[in-house]
Amino acid sequence: MTEYDPVKTNVSEVITETSNIKTFVLRPERPLDFEAGQFIQLTVPGVGEGPFTPSSSPYEKEKLEVTIMEVGRVTSALHNLKQGSMVGLRGPFGKEYPLDRFRGREILIVGGGVGMAPLRSLFLSLAHTIDDYKKLVFCCGSRTPKDIVYKDAVLDRWQTEFKDKVSFRITVDEGDGTWKGQVGLVTTTLDNLDQEISNFKESIAVVCGPPIMMKFTTMKLLDIGYGHENIYLSMEKNMSCGLGRCGHCQMGKYLVCRDGPVFTYQEVKNIPNMWD
Protein backbone atom coordinates (compact mmCIF):
# COMPACT_ATOMS: atom_id res chain seq x y z
CA MET A 1 0.00 0.00 0.00
CA THR A 2 1.42 3.37 -1.01
CA GLU A 3 0.56 6.81 0.31
CA TYR A 4 -1.47 7.35 -2.86
CA ASP A 5 -3.61 4.26 -2.23
CA PRO A 6 -6.91 4.96 -0.48
CA VAL A 7 -8.37 2.87 2.33
CA LYS A 8 -11.34 0.77 1.25
CA THR A 9 -14.50 2.36 2.61
CA ASN A 10 -18.13 1.36 2.72
CA VAL A 11 -20.88 3.86 2.03
CA SER A 12 -23.31 2.94 4.78
CA GLU A 13 -25.92 5.61 4.12
CA VAL A 14 -26.72 8.33 1.60
CA ILE A 15 -28.75 11.28 2.90
CA THR A 16 -30.28 13.73 0.44
CA GLU A 17 -29.87 17.23 1.86
CA THR A 18 -31.04 19.39 -1.05
CA SER A 19 -31.61 19.00 -4.79
CA ASN A 20 -27.85 18.90 -5.46
CA ILE A 21 -26.29 18.14 -2.08
CA LYS A 22 -25.98 14.74 -0.42
CA THR A 23 -24.34 13.56 2.78
CA PHE A 24 -22.50 10.24 2.64
CA VAL A 25 -21.94 8.20 5.76
CA LEU A 26 -18.62 6.42 5.34
CA ARG A 27 -17.15 3.51 7.22
CA PRO A 28 -13.49 2.96 6.33
CA GLU A 29 -11.86 -0.45 6.93
CA ARG A 30 -9.29 1.32 9.05
CA PRO A 31 -10.49 4.33 11.06
CA LEU A 32 -9.20 7.77 10.07
CA ASP A 33 -8.66 10.07 13.02
CA PHE A 34 -9.35 13.63 11.97
CA GLU A 35 -9.92 16.97 13.67
CA ALA A 36 -12.51 19.52 12.58
CA GLY A 37 -11.20 21.52 9.64
CA GLN A 38 -8.87 18.89 8.23
CA PHE A 39 -9.75 17.36 4.89
CA ILE A 40 -9.75 13.92 3.30
CA GLN A 41 -9.43 12.70 -0.27
CA LEU A 42 -12.41 10.64 -1.35
CA THR A 43 -11.93 8.23 -4.24
CA VAL A 44 -14.58 6.89 -6.57
CA PRO A 45 -12.78 3.73 -7.71
CA GLY A 46 -11.43 4.09 -11.24
CA VAL A 47 -12.87 7.59 -11.62
CA GLY A 48 -10.70 9.79 -9.42
CA GLU A 49 -10.64 11.57 -6.12
CA GLY A 50 -11.56 14.92 -4.68
CA PRO A 51 -10.88 16.81 -1.46
CA PHE A 52 -13.68 17.15 1.10
CA THR A 53 -13.81 18.26 4.68
CA PRO A 54 -15.72 15.82 6.89
CA SER A 55 -18.96 17.22 8.25
CA SER A 56 -19.34 14.82 11.16
CA SER A 57 -18.02 15.03 14.68
CA PRO A 58 -14.37 14.05 15.09
CA TYR A 59 -15.47 12.28 18.26
CA GLU A 60 -17.32 9.65 16.21
CA LYS A 61 -14.52 7.26 15.44
CA GLU A 62 -16.11 4.41 13.51
CA LYS A 63 -17.64 6.51 10.74
CA LEU A 64 -17.28 9.85 9.09
CA GLU A 65 -19.63 11.88 6.98
CA VAL A 66 -18.99 14.11 4.00
CA THR A 67 -21.51 16.50 2.50
CA ILE A 68 -21.03 16.97 -1.21
CA MET A 69 -22.54 19.23 -3.84
CA GLU A 70 -22.74 17.82 -7.35
CA VAL A 71 -20.58 20.11 -9.47
CA GLY A 72 -18.17 18.07 -11.59
CA ARG A 73 -16.95 14.70 -12.79
CA VAL A 74 -16.05 13.08 -9.47
CA THR A 75 -18.93 14.59 -7.52
CA SER A 76 -21.41 13.37 -10.17
CA ALA A 77 -20.00 9.88 -9.81
CA LEU A 78 -20.34 10.25 -6.04
CA HIS A 79 -23.95 11.31 -6.34
CA ASN A 80 -24.67 8.10 -8.25
CA LEU A 81 -23.41 5.96 -5.36
CA LYS A 82 -25.87 3.96 -3.29
CA GLN A 83 -25.82 2.50 0.18
CA GLY A 84 -23.29 -0.34 0.13
CA SER A 85 -21.08 1.19 -2.58
CA MET A 86 -17.37 1.04 -2.16
CA VAL A 87 -15.18 4.15 -2.15
CA GLY A 88 -11.67 5.01 -0.96
CA LEU A 89 -10.35 7.42 1.63
CA ARG A 90 -6.96 9.03 2.14
CA GLY A 91 -6.01 11.42 4.86
CA PRO A 92 -6.65 13.32 6.96
CA PHE A 93 -4.61 16.20 5.54
CA GLY A 94 -3.97 19.78 6.53
CA LYS A 95 -4.48 21.70 9.72
CA GLU A 96 -7.47 21.67 12.00
CA TYR A 97 -9.27 24.64 13.54
CA PRO A 98 -7.05 25.72 16.44
CA LEU A 99 -9.56 25.11 19.23
CA ASP A 100 -6.96 26.00 21.85
CA ARG A 101 -7.12 29.57 20.58
CA PHE A 102 -10.92 29.50 20.62
CA ARG A 103 -11.33 28.50 24.27
CA GLY A 104 -12.88 31.07 26.58
CA ARG A 105 -13.99 33.30 23.74
CA GLU A 106 -17.18 34.26 21.95
CA ILE A 107 -17.31 32.28 18.70
CA LEU A 108 -19.14 33.36 15.58
CA ILE A 109 -19.74 30.78 12.87
CA VAL A 110 -20.92 31.95 9.46
CA GLY A 111 -21.82 29.39 6.83
CA GLY A 112 -23.18 29.64 3.32
CA GLY A 113 -24.67 26.79 1.31
CA VAL A 114 -22.54 23.65 1.20
CA GLY A 115 -19.91 25.60 3.16
CA MET A 116 -21.90 24.42 6.17
CA ALA A 117 -20.13 21.03 5.89
CA PRO A 118 -16.88 21.77 7.77
CA LEU A 119 -18.81 24.07 10.10
CA ARG A 120 -21.05 21.23 11.18
CA SER A 121 -17.95 19.27 12.15
CA LEU A 122 -16.59 22.32 13.94
CA PHE A 123 -19.89 22.97 15.69
CA LEU A 124 -20.14 19.38 16.90
CA SER A 125 -16.56 19.60 18.10
CA LEU A 126 -17.24 22.81 20.02
CA ALA A 127 -20.54 21.46 21.32
CA HIS A 128 -18.74 18.44 22.76
CA THR A 129 -17.05 20.68 25.32
CA ILE A 130 -19.44 23.61 25.08
CA ASP A 131 -18.54 24.96 28.51
CA ASP A 132 -15.04 25.75 27.24
CA TYR A 133 -16.49 28.59 25.19
CA LYS A 134 -18.07 31.80 26.36
CA LYS A 135 -20.75 31.92 23.70
CA LEU A 136 -21.56 30.56 20.24
CA VAL A 137 -23.42 32.38 17.47
CA PHE A 138 -24.23 30.28 14.43
CA CYS A 139 -25.22 32.16 11.27
CA CYS A 140 -26.36 30.30 8.22
CA GLY A 141 -27.32 31.58 4.79
CA SER A 142 -28.93 29.58 2.00
CA ARG A 143 -30.38 30.46 -1.36
CA THR A 144 -33.94 29.28 -0.62
CA PRO A 145 -35.52 27.31 2.24
CA LYS A 146 -35.15 24.18 0.09
CA ASP A 147 -31.38 24.74 -0.06
CA ILE A 148 -30.76 24.70 3.69
CA VAL A 149 -28.25 21.96 4.44
CA TYR A 150 -28.77 19.99 7.71
CA LYS A 151 -32.17 21.63 7.84
CA ASP A 152 -33.52 19.53 10.67
CA ALA A 153 -30.50 20.22 12.90
CA VAL A 154 -30.11 23.89 12.04
CA LEU A 155 -33.78 24.83 12.32
CA ASP A 156 -34.77 22.58 15.16
CA ARG A 157 -32.57 19.97 16.85
CA TRP A 158 -29.49 22.08 17.65
CA GLN A 159 -31.62 25.08 18.55
CA THR A 160 -33.37 23.06 21.22
CA GLU A 161 -30.38 21.12 22.45
CA PHE A 162 -28.05 24.11 22.88
CA LYS A 163 -30.52 26.91 23.53
CA ASP A 164 -28.65 28.24 26.56
CA LYS A 165 -25.28 28.59 24.94
CA VAL A 166 -25.85 29.03 21.21
CA SER A 167 -27.80 31.61 19.22
CA PHE A 168 -28.85 30.79 15.71
CA ARG A 169 -29.40 33.31 12.93
CA ILE A 170 -30.77 31.65 9.84
CA THR A 171 -31.52 33.47 6.62
CA VAL A 172 -32.44 32.68 3.02
CA ASP A 173 -31.82 34.85 -0.04
CA GLU A 174 -35.35 34.22 -1.30
CA GLY A 175 -38.23 32.97 0.83
CA ASP A 176 -41.16 30.84 -0.23
CA GLY A 177 -44.75 30.42 0.98
CA THR A 178 -43.74 28.33 4.00
CA TRP A 179 -40.72 30.35 5.18
CA LYS A 180 -41.34 32.44 8.26
CA GLY A 181 -37.74 33.26 9.05
CA GLN A 182 -35.40 36.01 7.97
CA VAL A 183 -34.94 36.84 4.28
CA GLY A 184 -31.68 38.44 3.12
CA LEU A 185 -28.08 37.66 2.22
CA VAL A 186 -25.98 35.92 4.87
CA THR A 187 -24.24 39.22 5.65
CA THR A 188 -27.53 40.52 7.07
CA THR A 189 -27.19 37.99 9.91
CA LEU A 190 -24.29 40.14 11.11
CA ASP A 191 -26.51 43.19 11.63
CA ASN A 192 -26.93 44.10 15.29
CA LEU A 193 -24.39 41.45 16.23
CA ASP A 194 -23.57 43.42 19.37
CA GLN A 195 -26.77 41.99 20.83
CA GLU A 196 -25.00 38.62 20.96
CA ILE A 197 -21.30 39.34 21.09
CA SER A 198 -19.86 41.70 23.66
CA ASN A 199 -16.25 41.98 22.47
CA PHE A 200 -15.69 41.88 18.70
CA LYS A 201 -11.96 42.43 19.08
CA GLU A 202 -11.51 39.22 21.08
CA SER A 203 -14.17 37.19 19.32
CA ILE A 204 -13.31 34.46 16.81
CA ALA A 205 -15.18 34.28 13.49
CA VAL A 206 -15.17 31.15 11.36
CA VAL A 207 -16.44 31.58 7.82
CA CYS A 208 -17.04 28.99 5.14
CA GLY A 209 -19.01 29.27 1.94
CA PRO A 210 -18.69 30.28 -1.69
CA PRO A 211 -15.75 32.66 -2.27
CA ILE A 212 -18.00 35.68 -2.88
CA MET A 213 -19.85 35.00 0.37
CA MET A 214 -16.59 34.71 2.31
CA LYS A 215 -15.35 37.93 0.77
CA PHE A 216 -18.37 40.04 1.73
CA THR A 217 -18.71 38.40 5.12
CA THR A 218 -15.05 39.13 5.86
CA MET A 219 -15.42 42.77 4.76
CA LYS A 220 -18.36 43.19 7.11
CA LEU A 221 -16.57 41.48 10.00
CA LEU A 222 -13.61 43.81 9.55
CA ASP A 223 -16.03 46.73 9.56
CA ILE A 224 -17.57 45.77 12.86
CA GLY A 225 -14.20 45.33 14.50
CA TYR A 226 -13.01 41.74 14.14
CA GLY A 227 -9.24 41.31 14.17
CA HIS A 228 -7.51 40.09 10.99
CA GLU A 229 -5.97 37.25 12.93
CA ASN A 230 -9.33 36.18 14.39
CA ILE A 231 -11.20 35.57 11.13
CA TYR A 232 -10.81 31.97 9.95
CA LEU A 233 -11.50 31.25 6.29
CA SER A 234 -11.67 27.98 4.36
CA MET A 235 -9.53 28.16 1.23
CA GLU A 236 -10.91 25.33 -0.82
CA LYS A 237 -8.33 25.06 -3.59
CA ASN A 238 -7.51 22.24 -5.96
CA MET A 239 -5.88 19.97 -3.39
CA SER A 240 -4.83 16.76 -5.07
CA CYS A 241 -1.98 14.71 -3.60
CA GLY A 242 -2.50 16.03 -0.07
CA LEU A 243 1.18 15.38 0.53
CA GLY A 244 2.64 18.79 -0.30
CA ARG A 245 4.12 17.62 -3.58
CA CYS A 246 1.82 17.98 -6.58
CA GLY A 247 1.69 21.78 -6.50
CA HIS A 248 -1.96 22.20 -7.44
CA CYS A 249 -3.00 23.98 -4.26
CA GLN A 250 -0.08 26.45 -4.17
CA MET A 251 -1.36 29.86 -3.14
CA GLY A 252 1.24 32.56 -2.59
CA LYS A 253 3.86 31.04 -0.31
CA TYR A 254 1.43 28.45 1.00
CA LEU A 255 0.37 24.97 0.03
CA VAL A 256 -3.27 24.75 1.04
CA CYS A 257 -3.02 20.99 1.69
CA ARG A 258 -0.18 21.53 4.14
CA ASP A 259 -0.76 24.98 5.62
CA GLY A 260 -4.57 25.08 5.33
CA PRO A 261 -7.26 24.54 4.26
CA VAL A 262 -8.18 26.93 7.09
CA PHE A 263 -6.29 30.22 7.13
CA THR A 264 -6.72 33.42 9.06
CA TYR A 265 -7.52 36.51 7.03
CA GLN A 266 -4.22 37.89 8.31
CA GLU A 267 -2.32 35.08 6.59
CA VAL A 268 -3.96 35.35 3.19
CA LYS A 269 -5.11 38.93 2.74
CA ASN A 270 -2.23 39.95 0.47
CA ILE A 271 -2.33 36.98 -1.86
CA PRO A 272 -3.34 37.98 -5.38
CA ASN A 273 -6.78 36.62 -6.41
CA MET A 274 -7.25 35.05 -2.99
CA TRP A 275 -11.03 35.19 -3.22
CA ASP A 276 -11.20 33.33 -6.56
Binding site: G46, V47, G48, G247, G252, K253, R258
Partner: protein
Protein backbone atom coordinates in the same frame (compact mmCIF):
# COMPACT_ATOMS: atom_id res chain seq x y z
CA UNK B 1 37.53 17.53 -2.52
CA UNK B 2 39.94 15.03 -3.93
CA UNK B 3 41.14 15.70 -7.52
CA UNK B 4 42.63 12.91 -9.62
CA UNK B 5 43.78 12.49 -13.18
CA UNK B 6 42.54 9.77 -15.50
CA UNK B 7 43.84 9.25 -19.02
CA UNK B 8 41.39 8.98 -21.91
CA UNK B 9 42.19 5.30 -22.36
CA UNK B 10 41.73 4.57 -18.67
CA UNK B 11 38.50 6.53 -18.64
CA UNK B 12 37.07 4.26 -21.30
CA UNK B 13 38.25 1.32 -19.31
CA UNK B 14 36.35 2.73 -16.31
CA UNK B 15 33.21 3.19 -18.40
CA UNK B 16 33.62 -0.37 -19.63
CA UNK B 17 33.51 -1.52 -16.02
CA UNK B 18 30.55 0.69 -15.15
CA UNK B 19 28.49 -0.38 -18.14
CA UNK B 20 28.71 -4.02 -17.05
CA UNK B 21 26.86 -3.46 -13.80
CA UNK B 22 24.73 -0.40 -14.51
CA UNK B 23 22.50 1.18 -17.09
CA UNK B 24 24.68 3.92 -18.50
CA UNK B 25 23.17 7.14 -19.86
CA UNK B 26 25.11 9.93 -21.51
CA UNK B 27 24.44 12.89 -23.82
CA UNK B 28 24.31 11.89 -27.49
CA UNK B 29 23.51 13.93 -30.53
CA UNK B 30 20.19 13.37 -32.29
CA UNK B 31 19.81 15.76 -35.19
CA UNK B 32 20.75 19.15 -33.83
CA UNK B 33 20.01 18.28 -30.23
CA UNK B 34 21.63 16.46 -27.38
CA UNK B 35 19.65 13.86 -25.45
CA UNK B 36 20.52 11.57 -22.59
CA UNK B 37 20.61 8.17 -24.27
CA UNK B 38 21.33 4.71 -23.06
CA UNK B 39 24.92 3.75 -23.93
CA UNK B 40 25.47 0.02 -24.28
CA UNK B 41 29.21 0.07 -24.89
CA UNK B 42 31.54 2.82 -23.88
CA UNK B 43 32.67 3.79 -27.34
CA UNK B 44 34.58 7.08 -27.25
CA UNK B 45 32.97 8.56 -30.38
CA UNK B 46 29.55 8.47 -28.82
CA UNK B 47 30.24 10.66 -25.85
CA UNK B 48 29.64 14.40 -25.90
CA UNK B 49 30.59 15.45 -22.42
CA UNK B 50 31.50 19.10 -22.49
CA UNK B 51 28.92 21.00 -24.41
CA UNK B 52 25.96 22.43 -22.48
CA UNK B 53 23.03 20.46 -21.04
CA UNK B 54 20.98 17.88 -22.99
CA UNK B 55 17.36 18.58 -23.94
CA UNK B 56 15.74 16.36 -21.31
CA UNK B 57 15.75 17.75 -17.81
CA UNK B 58 17.57 15.54 -15.31
CA UNK B 59 14.32 15.16 -13.32
CA UNK B 60 13.15 12.60 -15.94
CA UNK B 61 15.36 9.99 -14.31
CA UNK B 62 13.95 10.44 -10.81
CA UNK B 63 10.49 11.83 -11.42
CA UNK B 64 9.44 10.31 -14.75
CA UNK B 65 6.68 11.87 -16.89
CA UNK B 66 4.39 8.91 -16.16
CA UNK B 67 4.53 6.76 -13.08
CA UNK B 68 2.22 4.29 -11.48
CA UNK B 69 1.94 5.24 -7.81
CA UNK B 70 -0.94 3.17 -6.61
CA UNK B 71 -2.93 0.04 -7.12
CA UNK B 72 -5.71 0.21 -4.68
CA UNK B 73 -7.93 -2.21 -2.81
CA UNK B 74 -5.30 -4.91 -3.35
CA UNK B 75 -2.74 -6.27 -0.99
CA UNK B 76 -0.01 -6.31 -3.64
CA UNK B 77 2.00 -3.15 -3.90
CA UNK B 78 3.44 -1.81 -7.15
CA UNK B 79 6.60 -0.67 -5.43
CA UNK B 80 8.14 -4.13 -5.22
CA UNK B 81 9.84 -3.91 -8.61
CA UNK B 82 13.58 -3.50 -8.46
CA UNK B 83 15.03 -0.11 -9.29
CA UNK B 84 17.86 -0.48 -11.84
CA UNK B 85 21.28 0.86 -10.96
CA UNK B 86 22.06 3.76 -13.25
CA UNK B 87 25.08 5.83 -14.10
CA UNK B 88 24.22 9.20 -15.56
CA UNK B 89 27.20 10.69 -17.30
CA UNK B 90 27.74 14.22 -18.54
CA UNK B 91 25.31 15.94 -16.17
CA UNK B 92 25.78 19.70 -16.20
CA UNK B 93 25.87 21.94 -13.18
CA UNK B 94 22.50 23.54 -13.96
CA UNK B 95 20.90 20.10 -13.70
CA UNK B 96 22.81 19.16 -10.54
CA UNK B 97 21.56 22.39 -8.99
CA UNK B 98 17.98 21.52 -9.99
CA UNK B 99 18.15 18.44 -7.78
CA UNK B 100 18.26 20.69 -4.72
CA UNK B 101 14.74 21.85 -5.55
CA UNK B 102 13.48 18.38 -6.42
CA UNK B 103 15.10 16.88 -3.32
CA UNK B 104 13.36 19.46 -1.16
CA UNK B 105 9.98 18.35 -2.50
CA UNK B 106 10.50 14.63 -2.96
CA UNK B 107 13.22 13.64 -0.53
CA UNK B 108 12.93 16.24 2.19
CA UNK B 109 10.39 16.84 4.91
CA UNK B 110 9.68 20.55 4.45
CA UNK B 111 6.80 19.91 2.10
CA UNK B 112 5.75 16.42 3.00
CA UNK B 113 5.93 14.47 6.23
CA UNK B 114 7.71 11.58 4.48
CA UNK B 115 10.04 11.26 1.49
CA UNK B 116 8.63 10.02 -1.81
CA UNK B 117 9.62 6.34 -2.13
CA UNK B 118 10.01 6.22 -5.94
CA UNK B 119 12.05 9.37 -6.12
CA UNK B 120 14.38 8.50 -3.28
CA UNK B 121 14.93 4.98 -4.60
CA UNK B 122 15.78 6.29 -8.06
CA UNK B 123 18.12 8.89 -6.55
CA UNK B 124 19.82 6.35 -4.31
CA UNK B 125 20.41 3.88 -7.12
CA UNK B 126 21.93 6.44 -9.49
CA UNK B 127 25.51 7.53 -9.78
CA UNK B 128 25.98 11.05 -11.14
CA UNK B 129 29.14 11.70 -13.13
CA UNK B 130 28.92 15.34 -14.05
CA UNK B 131 31.17 17.29 -16.37
CA UNK B 132 32.13 20.91 -16.84
CA UNK B 133 30.04 22.85 -19.32
CA UNK B 134 32.41 24.39 -21.82
CA UNK B 135 30.04 25.41 -24.58
CA UNK B 136 27.27 27.55 -23.13
CA UNK B 137 24.76 28.74 -25.72
CA UNK B 138 22.65 31.87 -26.04
CA UNK B 139 20.00 30.42 -23.69
CA UNK B 140 22.34 29.71 -20.78
CA UNK B 141 22.23 32.03 -17.78
CA UNK B 142 23.46 30.12 -14.73
CA UNK B 143 25.63 33.08 -13.78
CA UNK B 144 22.55 35.27 -13.32
CA UNK B 145 21.45 32.88 -10.55
CA UNK B 146 24.85 33.04 -8.85
CA UNK B 147 25.91 29.68 -10.23
CA UNK B 148 28.69 28.49 -12.57
CA UNK B 149 29.07 26.30 -15.62
CA UNK B 150 31.27 23.93 -13.61
CA UNK B 151 29.90 21.79 -10.80
CA UNK B 152 30.85 22.47 -7.21
CA UNK B 153 28.68 19.97 -5.35
CA UNK B 154 25.92 17.43 -5.76
CA UNK B 155 27.89 15.03 -7.97
CA UNK B 156 29.51 11.69 -7.23
CA UNK B 157 32.33 12.29 -9.69
CA UNK B 158 33.02 15.28 -11.92
CA UNK B 159 35.01 15.36 -15.13
CA UNK B 160 37.03 18.29 -16.46
CA UNK B 161 38.81 17.73 -19.78
CA UNK B 162 42.54 18.38 -19.85
CA UNK B 163 45.28 17.30 -22.25
CA UNK B 164 45.34 13.51 -22.49
CA UNK B 165 42.37 12.86 -20.25
CA UNK B 166 40.32 14.32 -17.41
CA UNK B 167 40.68 15.76 -14.00
CA UNK B 168 38.25 13.74 -11.87
CA UNK B 169 36.91 15.26 -8.72
CA UNK B 170 35.40 12.98 -6.11
CA UNK B 171 32.22 14.46 -4.64
CA UNK B 172 30.73 11.72 -2.50
CA UNK B 173 31.30 8.42 -0.76
CA UNK B 174 29.62 6.72 -3.73
CA UNK B 175 32.09 8.36 -6.07
CA UNK B 176 34.96 7.45 -3.78
CA UNK B 177 33.90 3.80 -3.91
CA UNK B 178 34.04 3.83 -7.72
CA UNK B 179 37.58 5.19 -7.61
CA UNK B 180 38.61 2.66 -4.99
CA UNK B 181 37.40 -0.23 -7.12
CA UNK B 182 39.73 0.69 -9.99
CA UNK B 183 42.49 2.53 -8.20
CA UNK B 184 45.10 1.69 -10.80
CA UNK B 185 43.25 3.80 -13.42
CA UNK B 186 43.89 7.05 -11.54
CA UNK B 187 46.87 9.11 -10.57
CA UNK B 188 46.80 12.26 -8.51
CA UNK B 189 46.23 15.41 -10.51
CA UNK B 190 49.37 17.53 -10.85
CA UNK B 191 49.60 21.31 -10.86
CA UNK B 192 49.72 21.51 -14.64
CA UNK B 193 46.40 19.76 -15.26
CA UNK B 194 44.75 21.63 -12.40
CA UNK B 195 45.93 24.92 -13.84
CA UNK B 196 44.63 23.87 -17.23
CA UNK B 197 41.26 23.04 -15.67
CA UNK B 198 41.05 26.42 -13.99
CA UNK B 199 41.87 28.22 -17.23
CA UNK B 200 39.19 26.29 -19.18
CA UNK B 201 36.63 26.91 -16.45
CA UNK B 202 37.39 30.60 -16.32
CA UNK B 203 36.96 30.83 -20.09
CA UNK B 204 33.58 29.15 -19.94
CA UNK B 205 32.42 31.33 -17.06
CA UNK B 206 33.47 34.42 -19.00
CA UNK B 207 31.48 33.14 -22.00
CA UNK B 208 28.24 32.81 -19.99
CA UNK B 209 28.74 36.24 -18.48
CA UNK B 210 29.33 37.75 -21.88
CA UNK B 211 26.24 36.08 -23.31
CA UNK B 212 24.15 37.67 -20.55
CA UNK B 213 25.63 41.13 -20.46
CA UNK B 214 22.56 42.81 -21.87
CA UNK B 215 19.98 41.02 -19.75
CA UNK B 216 21.77 41.20 -16.42
CA UNK B 217 19.86 42.95 -13.62
CA UNK B 218 21.21 44.59 -10.49
CA UNK B 219 19.21 42.76 -7.78
CA UNK B 220 18.58 39.04 -7.37
CA UNK B 221 15.38 37.82 -9.04
CA UNK B 222 13.95 36.77 -5.68
CA UNK B 223 14.26 40.31 -4.36
CA UNK B 224 12.77 41.86 -7.47
CA UNK B 225 9.76 39.61 -7.66
CA UNK B 226 8.33 40.66 -4.31
CA UNK B 227 7.92 44.18 -5.54
CA UNK B 228 6.51 43.53 -8.94
CA UNK B 229 3.48 41.26 -8.80
CA UNK B 230 1.08 43.82 -10.15
CA UNK B 231 3.44 45.09 -12.82
CA UNK B 232 2.07 45.39 -16.37
CA UNK B 233 5.29 43.74 -17.57
CA UNK B 234 3.80 40.31 -16.80
CA UNK B 235 0.89 40.93 -19.07
CA UNK B 236 3.09 42.37 -21.83
CA UNK B 237 5.30 39.30 -21.94
CA UNK B 238 2.44 36.83 -21.50
CA UNK B 239 0.91 38.13 -24.69
CA UNK B 240 3.40 35.99 -26.58
CA UNK B 241 2.53 32.91 -24.50
CA UNK B 242 0.40 30.28 -26.20
CA UNK B 243 -0.39 28.38 -23.02
CA UNK B 244 1.43 25.21 -24.14
CA UNK B 245 3.13 24.39 -20.85
CA UNK B 246 6.36 23.48 -22.64
CA UNK B 247 8.39 25.60 -20.22
CA UNK B 248 6.93 23.60 -17.34
CA UNK B 249 7.60 20.20 -18.82
CA UNK B 250 11.17 20.92 -19.86
CA UNK B 251 12.10 22.77 -16.68
CA UNK B 252 14.40 20.73 -14.44
CA UNK B 253 12.84 22.18 -11.27
CA UNK B 254 9.14 22.16 -12.23
CA UNK B 255 7.87 19.33 -10.13
CA UNK B 256 4.07 19.42 -10.28
CA UNK B 257 2.01 16.40 -11.15
CA UNK B 258 -1.53 15.27 -11.82
CA UNK B 259 -2.99 12.14 -10.28
CA UNK B 260 -5.12 10.13 -12.63
CA UNK B 261 -7.17 7.04 -11.89
CA UNK B 262 -7.81 4.18 -14.24
CA UNK B 263 -9.49 0.84 -14.14
CA UNK B 264 -8.54 -2.46 -15.66
CA UNK B 265 -11.22 -5.06 -14.91
CA UNK B 266 -11.35 -5.24 -11.11
CA UNK B 267 -8.04 -3.51 -10.65
CA UNK B 268 -7.84 0.19 -9.86
CA UNK B 269 -4.70 2.10 -10.69
CA UNK B 270 -3.42 5.54 -9.91
CA UNK B 271 -0.70 7.19 -11.96
CA UNK B 272 1.03 10.51 -11.69
CA UNK B 273 1.78 12.57 -14.77
CA UNK B 274 3.81 15.73 -15.18
CA UNK B 275 1.49 18.69 -15.01
CA UNK B 276 1.91 22.31 -16.04
CA UNK B 277 0.76 25.36 -14.09
CA UNK B 278 0.56 27.33 -17.34
CA UNK B 279 -2.46 25.29 -18.43
CA UNK B 280 -5.90 26.86 -17.79
CA UNK B 281 -7.30 24.15 -15.56
CA UNK B 282 -4.28 23.62 -13.32
CA UNK B 283 -5.69 25.35 -10.24
CA UNK B 284 -9.36 25.24 -11.22
CA UNK B 285 -11.67 23.50 -8.77
CA UNK B 286 -14.62 21.26 -9.60
CA UNK B 287 -17.15 24.05 -9.16
CA UNK B 288 -15.37 26.08 -11.83
CA UNK B 289 -13.69 28.68 -9.62
CA UNK B 290 -10.16 29.38 -10.79
CA UNK B 291 -7.63 31.40 -8.83
CA UNK B 292 -5.68 32.08 -12.03
CA UNK B 293 -8.15 32.29 -14.91
CA UNK B 294 -6.03 34.74 -16.88
CA UNK B 295 -2.99 33.58 -18.79
CA UNK B 296 -0.99 36.53 -17.44
CA UNK B 297 -1.75 35.36 -13.87
CA UNK B 298 -0.53 31.86 -14.63
CA UNK B 299 2.49 33.21 -16.45
CA UNK B 300 3.55 35.36 -13.50
CA UNK B 301 2.65 32.69 -10.94
CA UNK B 302 5.08 30.28 -12.58
CA UNK B 303 7.97 32.63 -11.86
CA UNK B 304 6.53 33.58 -8.45
CA UNK B 305 6.69 29.90 -7.61
CA UNK B 306 10.34 29.80 -8.56
CA UNK B 307 11.48 33.04 -6.91
CA UNK B 308 8.97 33.58 -4.09
CA UNK B 309 7.30 30.30 -3.11
CA UNK B 310 10.51 28.23 -3.04
CA UNK B 311 12.69 30.87 -1.39
CA UNK B 312 10.01 31.40 1.29
CA UNK B 313 9.72 27.67 1.93
CA UNK B 314 13.21 26.27 1.53
CA UNK B 315 15.43 29.27 0.83
CA UNK B 316 16.15 28.11 -2.72
CA UNK B 317 15.55 29.71 -6.10
CA UNK B 318 13.73 27.06 -8.09
CA UNK B 319 15.63 28.05 -11.22
CA UNK B 320 19.16 27.15 -12.23
CA UNK B 321 19.54 29.21 -15.37
CA UNK B 322 19.62 26.18 -17.67
CA UNK B 323 17.71 28.17 -20.29
CA UNK B 324 15.53 25.30 -21.48
CA UNK B 325 12.36 27.37 -21.00
CA UNK B 326 13.76 29.99 -23.35
CA UNK B 327 14.93 27.50 -25.96
CA UNK B 328 11.60 25.63 -25.98
CA UNK B 329 9.27 28.64 -26.10
CA UNK B 330 7.47 29.02 -29.40
CA UNK B 331 6.47 32.54 -28.35
CA UNK B 332 10.14 33.37 -27.87
CA UNK B 333 9.55 34.43 -24.27
CA UNK B 334 12.80 34.98 -22.42
CA UNK B 335 12.47 35.21 -18.63
CA UNK B 336 15.72 37.17 -18.48
CA UNK B 337 14.07 39.89 -20.53
CA UNK B 338 10.99 39.77 -18.30
CA UNK B 339 13.19 40.58 -15.32
CA UNK B 340 15.10 43.19 -17.27
CA UNK B 341 11.80 44.90 -18.07
CA UNK B 342 10.66 44.55 -14.47
CA UNK B 343 13.84 46.33 -13.44
CA UNK B 344 13.13 49.18 -15.83
CA UNK B 345 9.55 49.31 -14.60
CA UNK B 346 10.69 49.21 -10.99
CA UNK B 347 12.91 52.19 -11.48
CA UNK B 348 9.68 54.02 -12.26
CA UNK B 349 8.37 52.79 -8.88
CA UNK B 350 4.78 52.03 -9.89
CA UNK B 351 4.28 48.37 -8.98
CA UNK B 352 2.71 47.18 -5.75
CA UNK B 353 4.70 45.20 -3.18
CA UNK B 354 4.00 41.88 -1.52
CA UNK B 355 3.88 42.67 2.18
Amino acid sequence: MEALFISTANFHHLLGNLVKKNLLYAPRKKGDFLFYERIETASPKDLILHTNRPVQPLKSFFFPPYQKVGQYFESASPEDTETPKRVILGVKNCDLESLKTLDSVYAGTQFSSSPDPWYTRARDSSLLISSDCLEPDEYCFCTLLGSNPDPEEGFDLNLSPVDGGFVIEVGSEKGKAIVNQDQNLFISADENVLAQREKTRADSLAKVKELNQEVEVKSPYRDMIRETYSSPVWKDHSENCVDCGGCNEICPTCRCFLLQDGREKERFERVRLWDACLLTGFARVAGGANPRPKLSDRFSNRLFCKFYFFPENVNLDACTGCGRCISVCIGKIDMRKVFKDLEKERSKGSAEKIK
